[in-house]
């Protein structure tokens, strides 16, 4: 019966186990699809492509192709934490989305801004560029110049000295 065949659902448990390994990713297992996360989600209000409940459903089904693919909706999340606030199941949907972003980053499937910003921080210890102009503005405000940051110590606590954060 072709119709019944279409109802057939396959769950990729290997992908879900991979998601479980990332901090916060394991909470996807608690989702019972109530949709409380959707009502106050600004990304869902502003984009038809984004729905945290659907993302969680895709996570429960282990659909890596949808979640980590080039058109993945996860990058539309505004990181506002409304879903975390609302979720009655402690799924912390945004943290699951961030865990999915980690998996995408591991597969080089994240927007290039992510790598650029991360590299800046690993190189200098800060997220912004300290230029002579910055120091001049600080001086005009009576503030001390910005100095060095303990980059070496920061890199030592990362797994392989920051090469693969």
């Amino acid at each position: 019966m072709p119709q019944e065949k279409e109802k057939h659902v396959t769950i990729d448990f290997a992908f879900r186990r991979e998601l479980d390994q990332i901090i916060g990713g394991d909470h996807h297992n608690y989702c019972y699809q109530c949709g409380a996360c959707v009502a106050q989600c600004p990304a869902a209000q502003y984009s038809e492509s984004f729905n945290p409940r659907s993302i969680l459903l895709d996570a429960l089904l282990g659909r890596a192709d949808v979640l980590l693919g080039p058109d993945s909706p996860i990058w539309l999340c505004t990181n506002c934490y409304s879903c975390y606030e609302r979720c009655p199941q402690d799924v912390r949907p945004i943290e699951v989305i961030i865990a999915l972003k980690n998996l995408a980053s591991n597969r080089d499937a994240a927007p290039s801004d992510v790598a650029t910003m991360t590299e800046n921080i690993l190189k200098t210890g800060v997220s912004g560029l300290i230029t002579p102009a910055v120091q001049r503005i600080r001086e005009s405000l009576g503030l001390k110049p910005l100095g060095d940051y303990p980059v070496d110590e920061m890199l030592k606590i990362l797994p392989d000295e920051g090469k693969q954060p």
């Binding site: 990304a43 934490y81 997220s127 560029l129 940051y149 303990p150």
Partner: protein
């Protein structure tokens, strides 16, 4: 009271006027700021956390260790830093195994995370440790007649389970702080909407900023008041960019709370760096100067 400020990156590098305003206003509330060396980026809760949560957590824990070694609680000024450091504390308290994993890494540089220092945003320290009346007592030039549209930003309030700042749906902390300096807090429809900066997609934040500023324009406020440098970047230069795309001009100055406090404490606009903003606060400053001239006449 003594606290160690955690300025992060964005404030000292991109918006040092916020640092200047903070350093000049807090002593007037009886707070001694003790600078500690050895911090890095908190690290940022959007990009760095996207790349790797465990690395993000480890670097955050290292920053907390620096404060622990100095024996001082941290006061944060940036909502991003507040989010990172408070969530790191929460995760490390919640999961003993995770704390062990992080401490194994910190051991390489002779550090161990204990969880002994508090982290609070400056506005929370003022409300809970000093009392808002301290702010009123420090005012010499109340901002009478200035209507301030408040923008909370997401990370000061949410998740409330971690932040413990205020009711995330009906907050009042910023309204009370604005009223304490003589200004009038003005409500508007989009007061709690996200600024959109954390979204890694280009189009959506434009619509969000447009709606927020339309809502503020309708409210009749003289300026926007906020406490987050990331939101500030969405709104100061941001409203100009969005205005161009949408064929409108908002011209609503965006002012960090400690700059408003500085003005009320009698500091000159340049001392709190208002001259560095893209959208100038000239109308408000003229109104304040006018009020003063009237009072002395």
């Amino acid at each position: 009271m003594k606290v160690a400020p955690f300025f992060g990156c964005m404030i000292p590098i991109k918006y040092p006027q916020m640092e200047a305003a903070f350093r000049r206003t807090m002593p007037n509330l009886g707070v001694e700021l003790v600078d500690i060396d050895g911090f890095t980026c908190c690290p940022d809760p959007i990009y760095f956390k996207t790349k790797g949560v465990l690395d993000w957590l480890t670097i955050a824990a290292r920053n907390l260790c620096v404060a622990e070694e100095a024996g001082l609680d941290l006061v944060t000024l940036c909502s991003g830093c507040t989010a990172t450091l408070k969530e790191a504390k929460f995760l490390l308290a919640e999961d003993e195994d995770l704390k062990e994993r992080v401490n194994e890494r910190l051991m390489r540089v002779g550090k161990e995370y204990q969880g002994t220092v508090k982290v609070e945003h400056a506005v929370v320290v003022i409300r809970d440790e000093l009392g808002i009346e301290r702010v009123t007592e420090s005012v010499v030039k109340p901002l009478d007649g200035i209507k301030v549209a408040i923008h909370y930003g997401c990370h000061l309030l949410k998740p409330s389970q971690i932040m413990h700042v205020d009711d995330a749906d009906y907050p009042s902390i910023l309204e009370n702080l604005i009223a304490a300096i003589g200004a009038t807090p003005v409500g508007h429809d989009r007061k709690l909407l996200c600024c959109g900066k954390g979204c890694l997609d280009g189009d959506m934040p434009v619509e969000m900023v447009f709606d927020i500023f339309t809502s503020i324009r309708d409210s009749g406020a003289d300026c926007m008041g906020l406490i987050c440098p990331t939101c500030f970047s969405s709104f100061d230069l941001g409203q100009i960019v969005v205005g161009r795309k949408k064929n409108t001009k908002f011209d609503i100055p965006v002012i960090y709370y400690f700059q408003l406090l500085g003005l009320a404490q009698g500091l000159a606009p340049e001392e709190v760096g208002l001259n560095l903003h893209k959208v100038k606060a000239d109308r408000i400053l003229a109104e304040l100067a006018g009020g003063e001239a009237q009072a002395s006449a």
